[in-house]
Amino acid sequence: MTVPAPHSSDHLVAASGKDLSPPAGPTLLQGAVLRPQTLQWNGVRYTGAEPAHIDTQAAQAVPGIVAVVVRGSFMGVVASQLNQALHARDQIDARWNEPERDQAPTVAAAENQKTYTWSASQAANTWSIGLFDTDGTEPRMTVWTCTAHTELLRAEVAAVCGLPENRVQVLPNGAHHAEGYDSAVDAALLAQHVPGRPVKVASAAQAATRMVLQLSTDNARHIEKLSQYPLRRPSVAALLCGASLIGQGGFTQAAMPYGLLQQSIEPANAPLSTTPDASADAALVFARESFFDETCREQGLDPVRARLERVDDPTGQTLIRSVAERAKWFDQTSPPMGGRGFAYSHTIDHEHEPPRAVWSAWIAEIQVGPDGAVDLTRVTVGHSTESLPQRNDAETIENQVRHAAERLLPPAAAHDQWGESFGGSFALKPAQVDLVTPEGRSQVSTPMAWNDQATLPAAAAIANAIFDATGTRLRDAPFDGRLLQQAVDRKLERSGTRKLTYGVLGGIAAAAAGLLVSALPWRSAIAPVQAVDTSVYSAQAIERGRLVALAGDCMVCHTAEGGTENTGGRPLDTPFGVVYTTNITPDPETGIGAWSYKAFERAMREGIHRDGRHLYPVFPYTSFAKLSDGDMQSLYAYLMTREPVKASPPKTQLAFPFSARPLMASWNTLFHKNERFEPDPSKTTLWNRGAYLVQGAGHCTACHSPRNTMGAEKSGDSNFLAGGFADGWEAPPLNELSRSPIAWTEESLFSYLRTGNASTHGVASGPMAPVVEGLAQLPESDVRAMAHYLASLARPAAETEPAALTAARLEDASRNNRAVMTLPGENLFEGACAVCHDAREGPPLFGARPSLALNTNLHSDHPDNVIQVLMHGISDPGNLGLGNMPGFKDSLNDQQMKDLVQYLRARFAPDKPAWEKVDEKIAAIRQQPGHP
């Protein structure tokens, strides 16, 4: 029976003028843009790498591609699905010229060159849609996005698309709290190439982006006169197109105030900053004001006097003088262990009509206590603006000033800090805040006009004060608490070596004690507790514990197929027999409800049950031992506040001798090191964070490191993450032994871990799928840290050939590989696989279309994962948008399966030897239940 359905053509003609909602549905195309490795501009125009050679042939051949757009250095693709667009983008073979260097790269200039970086806050996920309508008499461009700068965006889209401004419409996309400025111009440029069809461009949420600013004085070491700062940058797309935006509203070119500027931003395929203007302003002011201070100190000038000599503007003059007087700059010198810093900004806000000038001058004073604490003791802020939009009361302003200052002094980032939560670690006593008007009147008690731009000099003023106090120059903002602490320690002349010696001795003592304890074959029971008082745990601790549990995938193993979360009962197949996981809900009888924290911690770090029994190391306490105390306590808080469930999973029964649990004591002595993670001080915070997650809670080594005959992870650096087996699947090597044809990079690892798919490697399946599901819920920055750390272990990308070219070459080779066309697997492949997996032909179907030529599993030394997927399919992908694959267990017999496996290997990994023992593995894997 056929049910009459409403005619859907109404959906197809969305945005016909009346309907202002963003288009959706069948006609919506997806765009992706390719950015150069480093984005760089000099405050006027793009000065980064330019393409010397572009080959888009491979990209155009990707199924589902609608258009490949190249305009100057701007490149993008339009496709019917996002994954096709991303895959095609990766296939654009672009080779870049060296970026243009400063015009006068003289030796003297290089000598005085200083580099500053500014980390913009995390950019939120957002998206924009562009629609180029050519139906009417005059073409129109409509852009749906979320921006605070509608008028600027309209002007810029008109300029880059060559349209009159009244033919461009900017509409809200319904999102909030995100800045879609960059993606909006991307969408408009792409949409212009596919008239009549809307194109969506998503800007992925990015970890904090870094802006790098280089400044140098001219040859005579002359500090130029100060003039205004150039305000805001245009969109990345406009810069890359080489569009000239000078003289347009909102973008003025200013003479370089002092020093020549090169600005670049990393990573390149991230949006430059949250908004194209606000943080770029802050970065500029920070770099220039720090540079001015440094140059003055090098030349023995007083920064305030030097500034007064170089500021023409009368308002600025008066303001600087007032602030200096108020702070008694000229009358006093810095106290011992104290420091003062000055910074100034003069910006023009073009978003107001008429444009509004804002002046601000800051003097920050800090004091380093004998205990090493850094106190911001006093802040004097002078502020003036041409218009008086609103008056805020003095208290609000004081708070804003204090907040602006404190935000720059984050705690020393720790390896067990989840996400990007900032809390003050330096004891910031309420600083004395003084507000001054140009006339010199103190405004502490009277309301005054306030503007966010007044806080721009905060970072430079504090950095300059820290230099004055400690002699250490902080050029990366917000400041790294660790560096600051080191600077303070140096100043206080605490001997680093003495501390180190103590540290080493302490470590040795602890290890010896541990050795004695863990050789005891039977450990004492820890008395059960009647009830754990969970009311003492804060919501924050429980949330942190939830993140630890997600990173550790507790619920993946401790939940049976279709069972209640964390009640155990999942059988884990080990070479020694089947181990059933246990109930870890806080049920006192069948779960861990009677476990004190002490018992819980002992199990997690030493592998001892509360009753004293040894646990088998399939429970990865060897990794969990690395957890910090804070994380361990939070995890306990989280688990103990879950719903208790009474459930007794089957008992683990291993054959003798493995059934003798006391034997585990000697196993532990041999193979287990109960040590907390120690960050490597020579590495960055990001690297250490990643290492902590990978080695600790993430217990990646449990599957990805080879195990010896005793079931212990093999020791030694060369075995670390060198590949292993779990649950009948190969866990491929993550170190330099990786067999993937294109080397893993931080970006591809991040994409794989976050979305379950990396277009140049393949999709997460089997036991890795639930891992990705867990990682998708972790803070973005943590997954980024893991990718960063893992990328540092992988073999470096081969310099000889860009990844895109390798990808295209491999796909092309796999298509024209005549040697395989007579193999018996050819017909099987054509019938069963080609519709989704042929590299070049057929319809683009919904879901991922993994490129087999680049698939890591086909290039591996072992056929296991290929056979697993062919037999059992992928019914639970790590990310539902990837689609499913059917299993062919019931339609292909062993011989057909073997033909197909050998064909796949020969066709898609022609440089690798044929696999061995394929028959045995097919027979064995057919008997396995398959991973969900």
């Binding site: 049910v3 359905a5 859907s8 589902g64 019917s80 197929e561 057929g842 319809p843 683009p844 948008g881």
Partner: protein, 158 residues
Amino acid sequence: MKHSTQIVELEVNGQTHTLEAEPDTPLLYVLRNDLELNGPKFGCGLGECGACTVLVDGVAARSCVLSLKSVAGHRITTLEGLGSPESPGPVQQAFIDQQAAQCGYCLNGMIMTVQALLNRNPHPTEQQIRQELKFNLCRCGTHVEIVAAALQAANTTK
């Protein structure tokens, strides 16, 4: 295998349906058995023949191998969503005009795949049509008429 049903919301042909089903159920079974939309056909059950093709967000999809949970939250269009016997959609009309069927079992897949192509590329060449339909199987040998119908559809749609 999980054998627990869940409440799933599914948007098909512009209408939202609330269903109780196991999340792993193939979309095709839900469309045919629960919603009585029999345009999509069951052919091979392995995504090889194309008889079960529907559109997911305007893109062709083989509904026999796509689980219900994979498409929750997406817009699904079946053959019934392109038009009715009284007023067929342009692609359907072209297939009627060209009488591009013998047994007709593959037609749902042919029509839906051509519609997906036209969504992406309103003016495809014959070569592009052939490439798009390469993995839609027709056992009666009506290929000439099918390509003619697709070309007619490409010329009549705007």
